[in-house]
């Protein structure tokens, strides 16, 4: 019996252990995949299989399936959602774009791919994230950088190479075209273009058009060839043609929009010289929080003199601030190494802003890098906020805040005598002594002058007498 129980616990422990290893995402592995029909999932088999091998638990469902819901009793049912059904007007049992926004607000990650025939649902969803899709039926067209398909030239199949240089999202091999076999290969793209808000700091236009890319409509000529229709107005063109954009919300949920479902499809994965597989792997890893997830594992502040965190600080105290930062990459938490982590002491305005130094450590198994700073607090009392607000493109936001009180010195905490004021102390003391000396001279050492004075004093009195006499006369 005992042996059996032991075996049981061992089995349980090992399953737990396997479970932790399999979960590659830092937040969870439940994925909802919505496709137009269940059969159409096979178009994306390579993409979906790669997700399964990465340890995700895929729930495949048709977009029209009314039993699909994102949450039960306010609890998310999925950690991630992939929408591959651009034409669907309704998602699941009447899920609205707002439901997906709420899903993201709750911390869920979202990967959305649309095509030229996108529904209003997707247009509205895109607008929530600063992405404005071009009119229905239009395509991203490039007459210069296109790929051949089935020996037919189709200028809608773009070989896009204009990748944003964001190493936190796109792996360095894709960006630099290093030694890897898939290096600097074009990403094949066939779909609709979108406008992106260039000023939105949360939005990264990851893949944009080249100088010859524009957004326009097509028509079929009498030979059955697809031709681009005449452009009558100023079209969206060049780098403002958004193809794939990613968005990180303030609560660190991540969203990706692709104007092309074909980007994720097997035919374009399988093409020779195709960079789709590594590109999709990069963005899906980023969106599903498998990489570039930053967290603060610990932070502390204390007096330099005592090494302990006091109840309150005094003005101009010397203190130390420390923060531990980890980054989740490749299935593990690693020390996050950077040279731009800043500390701020704020009371309405930042009174202090210093760059923290990374503490060098020889511990190779450490999961966090410690940053420290020696800070002299301002000569100002009040309620301060100690803050590390670290926001870098592609990384999760770290915003750590502590509210601390900085007190003025007590009445007996000030120095009694100031060195700078010694001349003034001496000056006033000398004046006291001078007064005493004058008084002494006046009282005891003025005999001859007194005699002389008494003589002198007679004269004006005589004059006065004369005057009064003359007046009376």
């Amino acid at each position: 019996m005992n042996l059996l129980a032991l075996l049981g616990t061992l089995l349980l422990l090992s399953s737990v252990w396997i479970g932790t290893v399999e979960a590659k995402s830092s937040v969870g592995d439940r994925v909802l995949v919505l496709v137009p029909k269940l059969e159409s999932a096979k178009h994306y088999s390579r993409f979906l299989d790669s997700l399964k091998t990465r340890g995700f638990d895929l729930s495949l469902s048709a977009a029209s399936n009314t039993s699909v819901s994102l949450q039960i009793d306010g609890e998310r049912l999925f950690d991630h959602a992939i929408l591959l059904a651009p034409a669907a007007k309704k998602m699941g049992g009447g899920l609205t774009p707002q439901d997906f926004v709420r899903f993201v607000n709750d911390g869920g990650n979202l990967l959305v791919a649309v095509s030229s025939e996108l529904s209003d649902f997707h247009r509205k969803l895109g607008k929530q994230f600063g992405i404005d899709f071009e009119p229905r039926g239009s395509w991203a067209i490039d007459h210069s950088e296109f790929a051949e398909q089935n020996n037919q030239t189709d200028h809608r199949l773009i070989a896009a190479t204009n990748l944003a240089k964001v190493p936190a999202v796109l792996s360095p091999e894709i960006l630099t075209g290093g030694s890897g076999t898939n290096a600097s290969l074009p990403v094949f793209y066939k779909g609709i273009a979108h406008r992106y808000q260039a000023k939105n700091p949360l939005l990264i236009p990851l893949l944009v058009g080249s100088t010859t890319t524009y957004s326009g409509k097509t028509e079929v000529d009498k030979d059955g060839n697809i031709r681009s229709a005449a452009v009558d107005d100023m079209p969206l063109s060049g780098k403002s043609v958004g193809l794939v954009s990613v968005f990180q919300t303030r609560n660190n949920a991540r969203v990706a929009f692709s104007g092309s479902t074909a980007l994720f499809s097997d035919p374009l994965f399988k093409r020779t010289e195709s960079g789709n597989a590594p590109f999709v792997e990069s963005i899906s890893k980023w969106v599903f929080q498998e990489k570039s997830v930053l967290r603060e594992s610990n932070h502390r502040h204390y007096l330099l003199s005592t090494g302990e965190q006091p109840d309150h600080y005094l003005i101009t105290n010397d203190m130390v601030y420390e923060i531990d930062l980890s980054v989740y990459n490749n299935d593990k938490w690693h020390p996050y190494k950077a040279d731009d982590v800043q500390f701020e002491a704020i009371m309405l305005d930042p009174y202090i802003r210093v760059t923290l130094n990374r503490t060098q450590t020889s511990d190779s198994s450490a999961t966090a890098a410690t940053y420290h700073g020696h800070i002299r607090l301002p000569d100002r009392y009040g309620t301060f906020t100690f803050r590390v607000n670290y926001k870098r493109t592609g990384y999760s936001n770290v915003d750590v805040q502590d509210t601390v009180a900085i007190w003025p010195l007590r009445h007996d905490g000030y120095p009694r005598f100031l060195t700078a004021a010694y001349p003034y102390y001496t000056g006033s003391l000398v004046m006291v002594l001078g007064f005493l000396a004058l008084s002494a001279v006046w009282l005891w050492n003025a005999e001859p002058a007194a005699l002389k004075e008494s003589k002198d004093m007679q004269k004006p009195r005589d004059d006065e007498k004369k005057k009064t006499k003359s007046k009376s006369k």
């Binding site: 001349p423 000056g427 001078g434 004075e453």
Partner: protein, 125 residues
């Protein structure tokens, strides 16, 4: 010629200036009562102490300003009190102060000083 004339006039001027100064000094030494001479010396001392503190403040900065004000103000006020005492005890001003006596003026001087140094000590920090 002109040079000689100017030099001779300069000499005459110099002799006249030195003559004025020396006669002034002689007259001061002979005709000023000793008590007034003591007060004059005290007033010169006040000026020296005040100027020294002012120069120090100019060099070292205004911190601590209250201590500077106290020290410098002490010198200025002592100068003013001494000037008042000198006016009241000068026999030539007898006509202007017919009622007061030198002893009364000195008493006022002492009381003012006690109040002054009390304030200065408080303000010094």
């Amino acid at each position: 010629m002109a040079r000689e004339a100017t030099s001779s006039s300069n000499e005459a001027f110099a002799t006249s200036v030195s003559g004025i100064v020396s006669s002034l000094a002689r007259d001061y030494a002979a005709n000023t009562p000793q008590r007034l001479k003591v007060i004059d010396a005290y007033m010169a001392f006040c000026v020296v102490v005040g100027v020294l503190q002012f120069v120090y403040c100019g060099l070292a900065g205004t911190f601590p300003y209250n201590a500077f004000l106290a020290g410098f103000g002490s010198a200025v006020a002592c100068f003013v009190f001494a000037a008042n005492l000198r006016m009241k005890t000068n026999p030539k001003n007898r006509a202007q102060f017919p009622t007061g006596s030198p002893e009364g003026a000195f008493t006022e001087f002492v009381f003012c000083h006690i109040a002054l140094h009390f304030i200065v000590a408080n303000f010094l920090g």
